[in-house]
């Protein structure tokens, strides 16, 4: 009945979303996992004129790192500088419906820490050019497939339904991975949604990992035992082959 004025309270839009899997089980022949993220925009009133954009991110657990730079001294290439990075994600993928600067402003990006450089926190002092070190982390990890910038890879239908798929690589670290979905309009964030994906080793992998950390001496002795048995078996097999 009442026509809400344009300048009034923000459009009531919320996200309803789901994932193809909430847990990733790392088995012995784990070869990566593709996560499908899908959902819909719930709104009470018809969509405004301005187009909607969607950003989906998946972030792995953070790690502290030391980044070292090589330079030539006395004719030899050696590490000359080291910078401590307090927290860099072990995995980070960003998927968007359109080229990144079209979907969000820098300010909003900074606020929500969306783009890859924003996800790396607190590069320590100790260098005149900390930017080079952050770039190095991004470059090295992007080449390894651990950081992914997937522009134009979220499908949005009728300003309502969206879906995308993000490939998690084989080299995954255990932990809770955070999946975030942002809706933006006019390059400003309208609403967001978060959920977690649990990545854990299972079965034999889990058993070995636990044994190594909880009972290290047993684990060490077991490794040695296996080594000696293997050595002895090979010797016995070859002796048998030779005598026949």
């Amino acid at each position: 009945m009442l026509i809400a004025p344009q300048a009034a309270a923000a459009q009531q839009e919320s996200i309803v979303a789901g994932l193809s899997q909430n847990t990733v089980s790392i088995t012995a022949n784990f070869n990566g996992s593709e996560i499908l993220i899908f959902g819909a925009v719930q709104r009470d009133a018809p969509a405004p004129e301005e187009p909607l954009e969607v950003i989906v991110t998946i972030e792995g657990p953070d790690q502290a790192l030391t980044v070292r730079r090589l330079d030539r001294n006395y004719g030899i290439w050696m590490n000359v500088e080291a910078v401590e990075v307090d927290a860099a994600p072990t995995f980070y993928a960003v998927a968007t419906t359109a080229p990144f600067d079209q979907v969000i402003t820098s300010t909003e990006d900074l606020r929500y820490r969306i783009s890859i450089p924003r996800a790396i926190r607190a590069v320590g002092t100790g260098s005149d050019r900390p930017g080079d070190f952050t770039d190095a982390v991004i470059r090295i990890r992007t080449d390894a497939g651990l950081y992914q910038m997937l522009e134009n890879s979220v499908n949005l239908r009728s300003e309502t339904l969206f879906d995308t798929s993000i490939a998690l690589p084989a080299n995954l670290v255990e932990g809770d991975y955070l999946a975030r979905i942002f809706l933006t309009r006019g390059r400003e964030v309208v609403t967001s949604f978060e959920t977690e994906i649990e990545v854990a080793k299972v079965g034999l992998e889990r058993l070995i990992y636990n044994l190594a950390h909880d009972r290290p001496l047993v684990y060490g002795l077991l490794s040695l035992f296996i080594a000696i048995v293997a050595g002895w078996s090979a010797s016995a097999v070859f002796r048998y082959i030779r005598s026949n």
Partner: protein
């Protein structure tokens, strides 16, 4: 076939690991070296984190050395007494070496020192061995008689505490083997290797042992030193990856058996020259890496604990 390594937390091709293990195992059986100085860099190259590579490699060396030493025991080419003396020295040396290593770490630039040590030692040992074995081959080609026995008459034979080392055919003071063991242990702890590539030339040239006994005795000593190292790594850093170790050692123990048999068919001088060439090869590769601009000027590593 990809397999996920639980401690390294990376996925690698299982067949690649079997192949690498086999290759290094053959070298181990042939020359009496652990193979660590070859395998560890290869593991870095395929993406295993360095800490896990070093720790797991120690474990694999135990296996292939054990396999190799059994083949040598059968032929009675292991001098247990000498091995025991070297071993005592080796454990003492390893303990000292770890202290030294930690002290160097406090200064910083440990990586560089380790790499330089590798280049220097591999270079000197490789060059010396190459020259010596080349001469020995030339001499044995000229005369068709038995190869000349190398007699070291000198200050080494004047030292006290002499004892008979039957299998090597030596009557020698225990002091040189002990010192050699300590020196090798120190270097092994600093460079993270079994020490065979230093031990074998030291046994041949300093102690004057016949080459055919050197390989088995070296393997014997390496087993204990690397077992000790494996336990240390497993209990202090939790960096031994059992799945990686098993894949490497399956190839390794089989390779060591093959290598021990190949070694029998080679003449002593040929064995020495091949080892010399291998050692020089690794030395040049390391020197090359130090001198040539790398493609990536930055590297990522675990955070240092403050």
């Amino acid at each position: 076939m990809l397999i996920y390594l639980p401690i390294a937390e990376v996925s690698v091709n299982a067949f690649l690991l079997l192949g690498l293990g086999g290759m290094v195992g053959i070298l181990s059986g042939m020359f009496g070296v652990g193979g660590g100085f070859l395998m560890t860099p290869l593991l870095f190259f395929i993406g295993i984190p360095p800490a896990v590579a070093v720790a797991t490699e120690a474990n694999q060396i135990v296996a292939s050395s054990f396999s190799g030493v059994l083949a040598h025991f059968k032929r009675k080419t292991v001098d247990l007494k000498m091995g025991g003396v070297l071993l005592v020295g080796g454990l003492v040396g390893a303990a000292l070496g770890v202290q030294l290593f930690n002290a160097l770490r406090a200064i910083g630039q440990v990586d560089l020192l380790v790499k330089l040590s590798y280049v220097v030692f591999l270079g000197i040992i490789g060059a010396l061995m190459f020259v010596e074995s080349l001469n020995a081959i030339r001499k044995s080609r000229k005369t068709d008689g038995p190869p000349p026995r190398r007699h070291h008459r000198g200050w080494i034979h004047a030292l006290p505490f002499k004892t008979r080392f039957r299998t090597s055919g030596l009557y020698l003071s225990v002091i040189p083997p002990l010192l050699v063991g300590v020196a090798v242990g120190v270097l092994a702890a600093i460079m993270g290797v079994g020490g065979g590539f230093i031990m074998v030339p030291a046994m041949i040239y300093i102690l004057g042992m016949p080459t055919k006994v050197v390989v088995g005795t070296s393997l014997f000593q390496i087993i204990f030193v690397t077992a000790f190292t494996t336990l240390l790594h497993a209990t202090t850093n939790f960096t031994v990856d059992m799945v990686l170790a098993v894949l490497l050692l399956i190839g390794g123990v089989i390779g060591a058996q093959i290598g021990a048999r190949i070694g029998v068919y080679l003449k002593a001088e040929q064995l020495r020259i091949l080892l010399a060439i291998m050692v020089l090869g690794v030395c040049f590769k390391l020197a090359f890496d130090l001198l040539v601009q790398p493609t990536e000027l930055f590297s990522l590593g675990a955070a240092s604990n403050h």
